[in-house]
Structure formats: C-alpha cells, structure tokens
Amino acid sequence: MTRRSLPFTGALVLAAAVATSQPGGEKAMFGNTYDRNMVSAEKGLPGDFDVKTGKNVLWWADVGSQAYAGPVILGGKVFVGTNNDGLRNPKLTKDRGVVMAFKEADGAFLWQITHEKLPAGRVNDWPQQGVCSTPYVEGDRLWYTSNRATLVSVDTEGFRDGENDGVKTEKDQSEIDGDVVWEYDMIGELDVFPHNLAVSSPLVVDGVLYATTGNGVDEGHINIPSPRAPSFLAVDAKTGALIWENNMPGDKIFHGTWSNPTYAVIKGVPQVIFPGGDGWLYSFEPKKGALLWKFNANPAGSKYILGGRGTANEVIATPVVWEDRVYVGVGQDPEHGEGAGNLWAIDATRQGDVTGTAVVWHRGGNDFHRTISTVAIADGILYAADLSGFLYALDARTGQHFWTHDLLAAVWGSPFVADGRVYLGDEDGDVEVLKAGKTKQVLGSYNLGISVYSTPVAKGGVLYVLARNRLFALKQGAQGQPATPRRMEHATGE
C-alpha cells in the first residue's frame, strides 16, 4: 500500500489508522500496516482470473514445495518465505528455510537466503515447512524469523548491490544469495524452545523490532522445557541487541507461540500487543516492556485438552486494531481438527487484567469455530474466516451478523478486502471473491490448482496470491502464460 494515495481514497477509516500507527517511511509487513488490518486502498484489482488460460495473470513464479509466508512487496520486489524444494541455488541442497525475492514487475527471481534445518528435527523445526515468518520490510532492510528461531536482518538487495552489509561471514555470497546484516539466536541466547517452528512475523517501530519467540512444549506436549525463556521480545532493529524480553505466560503455554505482535497508538498510548501461547493477549508499553493490560480470549470454564479436543484455544491469528479496539479469533493447530472458537472485540483503552471487562462483543459457541485467520475490517464491516471454512461478515462495532458464506474447504489464510471486494483463499485452491458489504454476493470462485494457505496482498493495482508452491501476480487486463503443472527440483533427499 502506498500511503501517499490514501488521502485521496476517502477511506477515512484507513487514513485514521495510518495517522495513528504508521509513522516513518514506506514499509510492508504481514497485514500491510502496524494494525494488521487485512485491507488495502488499492483500486482496479482483478475481479476474476483464470490461471489455466492466463487471463488477468501478470506473471507467476515458482517457490518451494510449501510456502506460508508473505508475500510482501516493497521497493520493486516481492518477498516470500518458503522451503528449498525450488532449489534456486543447486549448490544449496537439502531441506532448508528460504526467503526469496522476486522482481515486482515481471516475477523474475532475484535472490534468496537459506537456513539449514535445526538438528533437533521436527520438535523445533518441522521438516519442509520453510520460513513461515512473513518478513517486515522498510527501506533497504528486511527482517524475519528463520526456521532456526533466529531473528534475521538482511539487505533487500542481497549481494546484487556488490556490498556485504553487517555480518561478513555468510557461507554463500553469490549474487543470488542473501546478505545478512545481523542474526540473533533466540535458542542460544535465551534458551527459547520453539515448538515445531518459530514463525513470528515481526514489526519494526521507531527502530525497535518486536517478535514472539515460538516458545512452547517439548515433544511430549505437556512440559515447557524453557518456562523462563521469553515468549515476547524487543530488539534493536539496527543491531539485533536485546532491548527487553518477557517470559509471560511461562509454563502456562498450551502448545506453541505462533502469532504475531500488533502495534497501535490508542488514545495517545503506544501499545505493542502480543498474543500468548496460553490464549491471552498481552499489551505492553513498547519502549520498556511494562504490561499495560492482558485479556483471556478463552471464556471462563474453557479447558485445554491435550490432543486437540478441548475448548480452550490459542491465539494463532494476529490481533487487528481498529477504532481503539482489538479484534482477534482463537484456534488451534489445524492438526487438532475443527472445533468451537471465539471471536472478540476488545476495548484496548483499559489497564490491568481486562478479561471480561473490556469485551465490546463476542461471538462463540457454535457460531464461530477455531480459526487461525486474521480479520479484515473495512467500512465498519468485519470479515472473519474460520478453519471450518466459513466466512462471516459482522458489524465491527456491535458484532451484528450480516451474512455467512461456506467455502466448503478449510481456510488457513485471511480474508483480504480491497477495491470493494473480499478475497479469500482455501485449501481446495479456490480464491473466493465476494462483494464487500452488508449483503452477501459471491462474485466468483477461481481455482489456482494448488492449495492457498496464505492471504492475498495488493500493490500497484496487482493482486498477489501465494499458493502452496507458486506465487501469482494477477492484474486486470493482463494476459500471462497459462499455468503449467508444477515441477520441483526437489532439494530434500538424503
């Protein structure tokens, strides 16, 4: 999103959000802005597309065999997190976490940075999942969490600019390799035990990077091996030096810590809001890390049961701030199955334990299921999806229900609202397009042939959809190459 264009859009809501929470230069991140609201002021986006014929397809580019992070677009480049099955650098074999950079104009591959897997294996770094952290990009720097539970700052140009910034000891320094500025090891420095994978999509505000650590249970799923290690931390974005850490919720983590921080200035008070692995939200004063408020997103009486059948859930979705309220749904690892969920609108102006007292409205029981999707709010209407495949349109201020749409397939990604439409991808590879508004109107369903587990993004009139193994750039009026069956070089053998 280009903020310069915003005053002309008449999207007062967005403008207000930007005015309060988006200082500094141009930036890109999961959820586009600090408030993580999955909306955009982009116009002229394609209302339909056909990847088999190339209709309204600007370009497509192959990533690894699995991709869950991004895309983010800035400075003429598109960045995604994926695994190494694309084998873009044939010298770098085996399973790895990868961040790839493509040229925004035509999808040409520019460079990649790779991370070997942690030797502990799946308990800390699940095979083939790649980098699941959507990078934060600002200026010529990009920050993300690697599969090795390191926070990484890299040069957006890679080594293509002929310079080696920061760290000088990268093993791979060809022009298609990434240029590390600094790397902070959360396992080695802080004894973090990332459960299955560290995935946090960080934020950088005023030179400070905020991230969750991924701390969680060991392979037995009941013991927190590192209860004193932080779940939340702040580091210097320039140097990677630790500024503060907080180990809440300690040994109360149910499973892992897989959500992302959100930043907002609410009634003049800056807040960084972290979802905890215990199903609570924790809001901190950003500079020193003092707790402002906390909220239990599981109703009283909820119980977490090992294996997935309980009623207490985690926060895997990312909180969204809109009109001084925080909106978030709860859910579990999709492997735990579907189940009852809760969607909350919380007043973020209060202090202390605001469980119950800060609730503006709540939807739960059998009216909302487990979710790992982040909400989108546009023109006062909140769009929320759940793992069971339902998309809901609700009044963001009151929770009033406008409509529900059943996608008939599991949804992991988030609804994205732009140009008067709601775009939502699902596990069957369909991108469902609906008219934004209080009345349900399905405009179409367009299959990409590959599951979609991420959230669409728009920039420069182009809609980007990251399917599991391929990135599509969709533009009204474009005629691209018909999508061919996906081949993989397969880097991951013995």
Binding site: S65, P119, G121, D218, G220, I222, L306, G308, P485, G493
Partner: protein, 729 residues
C-alpha cells in the same frame, strides 16, 4: 428398537431375502478382501440418528474402524476418567449391540495423549476367535472370545518400538497362522538401528516367527499408519506396507525376506496401500522423491524385486494429497479421499482423474465400496453415502454426528459392512445401521485362497528361518528351536535337520536345536545351518534378580533395548560411568529398557548426575514397571509418573538438586489386586539414605508388570552409575 408389526416383518423379510445373499463378516478393518470392497447387496442408503434405519447404538468413544466376525462387532477405543483413563477393547453382539465384554489397559511408557488412544483398528481371526490390538503405547495383545488375554507383548520394551506423542499406530494383520505387526524404532543388536520393521508372531502363542527390516535407512517419524496388507502377487505371498521413512515395502509373508521397495515420499507414510491383482495402490500428501506438487497417488507393479522406485511405477496422479485414507479399487476406478475431504475417482488403468466430489473439509478414513455405492466418513462428524458415476458422483445421504455439547463428533474410522448392516465408530458411539426387521444371520465371508503355486516336490530350499525368533529366555530354562525351509517363492517346504551353534551366547545348544541358556544374564545368537543355507536369531537371557551394573567393563550392556548410540560409558571423577551425551541431531529424550516386561514387584536403584550449561540443565531418572521417577534438573522438581501426557496420575514435588552432584535414587513398585503403590527416594549420594520415601504415587489401575529402565532428556551431559534391580524386600 420399537416393536414390529406382522406386516412390517413380512415386508422386511421380503426385502431382506434376496439382497443379503452375500452377507458376511468384516474381519479386517478393510474388509474380507483387505481392499475396502464389500460383496453385500441391498444395503440402506439413508439413515438418521433419530431412528431411521438405526438398529442400535452403543456408548463408547473410538476412532478406529470396527471389525465384525463371529456375530460380534469389536473395536478399540478409550475409556475411563482421571486416573482410570485407559485404552479399551470391547466386543458387542452384532445383532443387538449388547456388550459382551470390555477390557481396559493402562497406558504407560508413552507420551500419546488420551484423546488419541485406541487409534489402531483391531484385527480379528475367525479361526481362533481372537481379536488383536496394538495399543498406542505398544501393548500388543491377543484376546480370546471371552476377552481373556491369550498372549501379549510390549513392542517398545521388547523390540524397541518408539512411542512418541502423535499416536498414529500400525494396525495388526492376521495372515495364515501369523499376526504381522509393523514397528518403528530401535532395539538391540540386529534390530538396533532405527528402522521401519515388521514382526510376525505365531497368532496362537505370540512366539516371534520372524522380524523383517526391509528399510535401508532411518525413519522420518515413528508416528505412522500406512498399515500393512497381504496379497499374493505373481505367486509370491507378500506383506505390503508403507514405511515411516516414505518407502513402500514388500516382504515375504512367511519368512519376512525383503522382496521389493519403492520410495513414494521423502516423508513417512500414513495412507495404507491396497493390492488389487498385481498392482499396489498407495497415496501420500507430502513431497515426492522426484519432485512435483505435494501429494501423489501411485500404482506400482508388485511383481518386481529390489528397488523398484524407477521401474515399478505404472502411473501417478500428482497433486492429490491422499495422506491418510487408503485407496479403494472398484469397477475400474481407484477412489481416494484427500486430506481436505475431497473424494476423487481415478482411472484404474491410467490414473487419469475422472472427477472430484466434496465431502467436507478433513478426509481421514478410507472409502468403502458396496452395492454400487461408496460409504464414507468425514472427520467432522459426517457419515456419507455417495453414488459414483462415470463423470461425477452424487451424495445420496449425509448424516452429521454431534456431541451433547453441540460440536461435531470426531469420526476417524471408516465403515464396516457386515451381515447386511453398516457398523462404524465415532467419538460419540458405535453405530449399527441397516434395515429394521431384516433377519440377522452371522455368516463368515468365504474368501477363496489366493492362487499360489505349490512348491515343486523336489524344490530346493532357498530360505531358512529359525523358529521362534527374537527370544527372551530365563537363565537355565531350555528353549527348543526349529529350522524351517522355504522355496524361492517364500513357500514353506519343511522343518529341516540343522546343525546348531551359538554365537556370543553362553550355555549350549543340542543337535536337536534345544538351547540350554547360561545361568546368568547374557545375549547372543542361535545359528542353524542346513547345507549351504544358514540362519540366526537373537536371544536374550535374563538371570534371576538381583542385577547390578557398574560399567567398569567399559561397555553398555548389549542386550539393553534402545541404548544404541545414545548412551556410552565414559570416565568421570575417577570411575567409569554410563553417559548420555547430547545428540547432535534428533530428540534428546531416551528411555532404555534393561530387562523383560514380565518383571513385577521389584526395586530399582541407581546413582544419577545432571550437568548445567547457562539456562540449560537435564532431566534423568529410573523406570520401574511402567513408572518413571524423574529428577527435573532445570525445573528443580521430582516427578513420579506413568503416562507422560496424562499427569492426573502422577506426583510432582519441588526438589532442590544441584548440577554435577551425584544423587542416589530408589524406585519401588508394589502391585497387588489390581492396585499399586509406587514409591521413590532420592538423596545426595554422599549423605545418609533417608528413612522416609521422598515421593509416592498410588495407582488404582496398576501396571501389573513392566520392564526396568533408565530415562534421560537433556541437551547437556547426563550420567548414571551403580544401577541395580532387585526383588522387593
């Protein structure tokens, strides 16, 4: 069931007569042919929880496909609350739903959570009347008609089967006079390396017939469920199963000799293959070894030998994430259900995708084809009847099962078709669906034996196995062995007169193959030679208690299960100690079993020491009869537990312990009348032994017997010394 009137009875009888001609039992979870195909006709195509065509429902919680035989329907499941939580096996009258018996098994030495207990379906054997269960914790049990234990094994403690958190468990398979069970893990000696294995037992006695290790390398994840099947392909009777390493293996059913292997995926397999004719059909949802999108369904020519990855593939259908549900082949089509709950029909000859049909969002259970229709389940409570056609499918009926609190019930298993009825389990109960008033008759499904050439009269012996295999013997108690020969096709020839010898084992073996084991603990091999053929099998001999281990001989005892490369003997403080250094790769947690699982009411003792590095420190302790006494160095706690993921049955107390200091531990179990008291004592080794027990656990459902062992979990060095196992005083 409501009272029936004469007219409805007559009508029902008329309806029932002709169509049920083929009605029979469903003795394996995939039916009489192990293909998911039923011969039955006249099945109902709709039913309702409210009562339409609902014959009976039994209260239980299960996630496995039931087996139906001998007029009974049996399933595994879970039962109990709090400290009585257990794995359950139950049998019901297939006509009425009356419960015949229910057995509970305490779950121990595992991390699998309660909600995943009972994941493997049972195997039934109409010949003996036994049902066989492999529980999530590796308890393998044969239950007789009355539910009594005919025989049992502990797969982990005896053969090194791993039991992680995931809980997916390989379903046992009855084949001729054997029970074949898949096992993934690391044991000792020949079965020491971490591999996918198959173990065949004598189905009547539980004696090991053979152990097969067809895998060439380590596995991806011990939590796998591509359960084995059996078929005669090109005259060879083969066990075909999907490995935890992504390979599909075929081994000879009677000898375990590996025949062929095919790499389907780079990750472990969970979708059980089926065999139709000479072709093996299999699916997965992960990366394929030669690229392509995630997921593939593949047809493999099962007539090959050796590595047939590049030569055996008949066709592939890429991009179908069939990771859990097994395929079903009927009427020239291969039906598969993908992970996202979509049913696909593929051309049996070419693999071409004919059509797809949405069932829901989560696909886990294999389809069943019967009477021209597909009977399916979807994990979110759905039971569906689908009519497949040439160009598409139509859902005839869909019923959603919910829990009392309103959410959908989990349905993991598929449908069993028997006696003209449908049987299936859910989180909410066991259902029997069929035509009301239709006469009930329990008849066995007669499956003609697969055509197999008889061995030639003068056939040359090509294989030799020693029976029993992988024996645990008591010191001084003789064990008789036999040498069995087979022809080139793996067909039994005869019991041979062999020349017998011992390798690394004390005691003696007679010319008739009778082993007189040594008087003390030891391990080695019994060898048989017949002409140019030879065979060997492993034997572990356990002497009477007490046992002591001081490691001064410098080696880890070779008969321990699971010690592998994880443990070694190292010098520390002027003595030789057992050390568990941090592994460079893989999980740091390890349990080593040092004796047989038949020991009961004993005391285990040992010295333990953990080390610290920065914020990191280790956990370590002792295992006695299914109970672990764990000194949690980092948490500064002492825990006594039996089931690591269900701590309602455990005791945890604060315990200030210092790194680099030797502590002495004592762990004693007293089991009597189904209940037990477990007591632990821990003190600084250089101080006096306290008079009182440090920690106690009372168990209302005690583990009756179990192997002694040691436990450790750390990224820093752990040490053990002066271990002993002695009978309770």
């Amino acid at each position: 069931m409501p009272r029936t009137t004469l007219s409805t009875l007559t009508l029902a009888a008329a309806l029932a007569l002709a169509p049920l001609a083929h009605a029979g039992d469903w003795p394996t979870w995939r039916g009489p042919y192990r293909t998911g195909v039923s011969d039955e006709k006249g099945l109902v195509t709709r039913w309702s929880r409210a009562g339409e065509n609902l014959l009976w429902k039994a209260d239980l919680t299960a996630r496995a496909t039931p087996v139906v035989f001998d007029g009974r329907v049996c399933t595994s499941g879970r039962a109990g609350t709090g400290a009585t939580r257990a794995e359950m096996v139950a049998c019901f009258d297939a006509a009425t739903g009356r419960k015949l018996w229910e057995r509970h098994f305490p779950v121990y030495n595992t991390m699998v959570p309660f909600t995943r207990v009972g994941w493997a379906a049972l195997a039934a054997d109409p010949e003996t009347g036994f049902v066989y269960a492999q529980n999530v914790d590796g308890q393998l049990v044969a239950l007789d008609r009355e539910g009594g234990t005919a025989w049992q094994h502990r797969m982990g403690e005896e053969y090194g089967r791993g039991s992680g958190y995931g809980g997916r468990t390989l379903i046992p398979l009855v084949d001729e006079d054997r029970l074949v069970v898949g096992s993934v893990g690391a044991g000792w000696g020949d079965i020491g390396p971490p591999r996918q294995r198959y173990i065949a037992f004598d189905k009547r006695t539980g004696a090991v017939r053979w152990i097969s290790t067809p895998a060439q390398g380590p596995f991806d994840d011990a939590n796998n469920q591509a359960s084995p099947t059996v078929a005669v392909i090109a005259g060879r009777r083969l066990i075909v199963g999907g490995g935890a390493d992504g390979w599909i293996y075929a081994v000879e059913a009677r000898t375990g000799a590996p025949v062929w292997r095919f790499q389907a995926s780079v990750r472990g397999l969970n979708s059980p293959p089926v065999v139709e004719g000479d072709v093996v059909y299999a699916g997965h949802s992960e990366e394929s070894p030669d690229g392509g999108p995630m997921g593939r369904v593949v047809a493999i020519d099962g007539r090959g030998t050796g590595d047939i990855t590049k030569t055996g593939e008949l066709w592939r259908a890429d991009g179908l994430t069939v990771g859990f549900a097994g395929p079903t082949v009927a009427g020239g089509r291969v039906y598969v259900v993908d992970n996202a709950g979509n049913l696909h029909a593929l051309d049996q000859k070419t693999g071409a995708r004919l059509w797809s049909h949405g069932l829901g969002t989560v696909g886990r259970a294999a389809p069943v084809f019967a009477d021209g229709r597909l009977y399916l389940t979807e994990q979110n409570g759905k039971v569906l009847v689908v009519e497949p056609g040439a160009t598409g499918a139509k859902t005839l009926h869909e019923e959603t099962i919910t829990m009392p609190e309103g959410r959908t019930a989990e349905v993991w298993g598929g449908v069993a078709v028997a006696y003209g009825r449908l049987y299936f389990t859910t989180e909410e109960g066991l259902y029997c669906v069929g035509r009301k008033g239709a006469p009930f008759k329990a008849t066995a499904t007669v499956v003609p034996p697969a055509a197999e050439p008889r061995p030639a009269a003068e056939a040359r012996a090509a294989r030799l196995i020693i029976v029993p295999a992988e024996v645990i013997a008591a010191a001084g108690t003789p064990v008789g062995f036999e040498a069995w020969s087979f022809d080139e096709g793996g067909r039994f020839l005869r019991k041979e007169k062999a020349a017998w010898a011992l390798d690394g084992l004390g005691g003696s073996v007679s010319a008739e193959g009778v082993l007189t084991p040594p008087a003390a603990t030891g391990a080695g091999k019994v060898k048989a030679t017949v002409g140019e053929l030879s065979a060997s099998t492993q034997v572990r001999v356990f002497g009477p208690l007490p046992w002591t281990f001081d490691f001064e001989q410098g080696a880890v005892p070779r008969h321990w299960i699971g010690a592998g490369p994880r443990f070694k003997v190292a010098d520390l403080g002027g003595g030789k100690r057992l050390q568990k250094p941090p592994l460079e790769a893989g999980l740091q947690r390890a349990t080593v079993f040092i004796g047989p699982p038949t020991l009961a009411n004993y005391t285990m003792e040992g010295d333990v020491l953990f080390t610290r590095q920065g914020r990191r420190a280790g956990d370590l302790g002792l295992v006695n009869q299914g109970y672990t006494l764990d000194l949690l160095g980092k948490k500064q706690e002492l825990q006594l537990r039996t089931w690591a993921s269900e701590l309602e049955k455990s005791t945890t107390i604060p315990f200030a312990a210092e790194p680099d200091v030797w502590y002495r531990m004592k762990l004693r179990v007293d089991a009597q009348g189904g209940k037990g008291v477990v007591r632990g004592r821990v003190w600084k080794k250089d101080g006096p032994e306290p008079a009182e027990w440090t920690i106690t656990l009372e168990d209302p459902t005690v583990v009756a017997a179990g192997a002694p062992g040691i436990y450790g979990d750390s990224v820093t060095d752990l040490y053990y010394d002066n271990l002993s196992v002695s009978a309770n005083q």
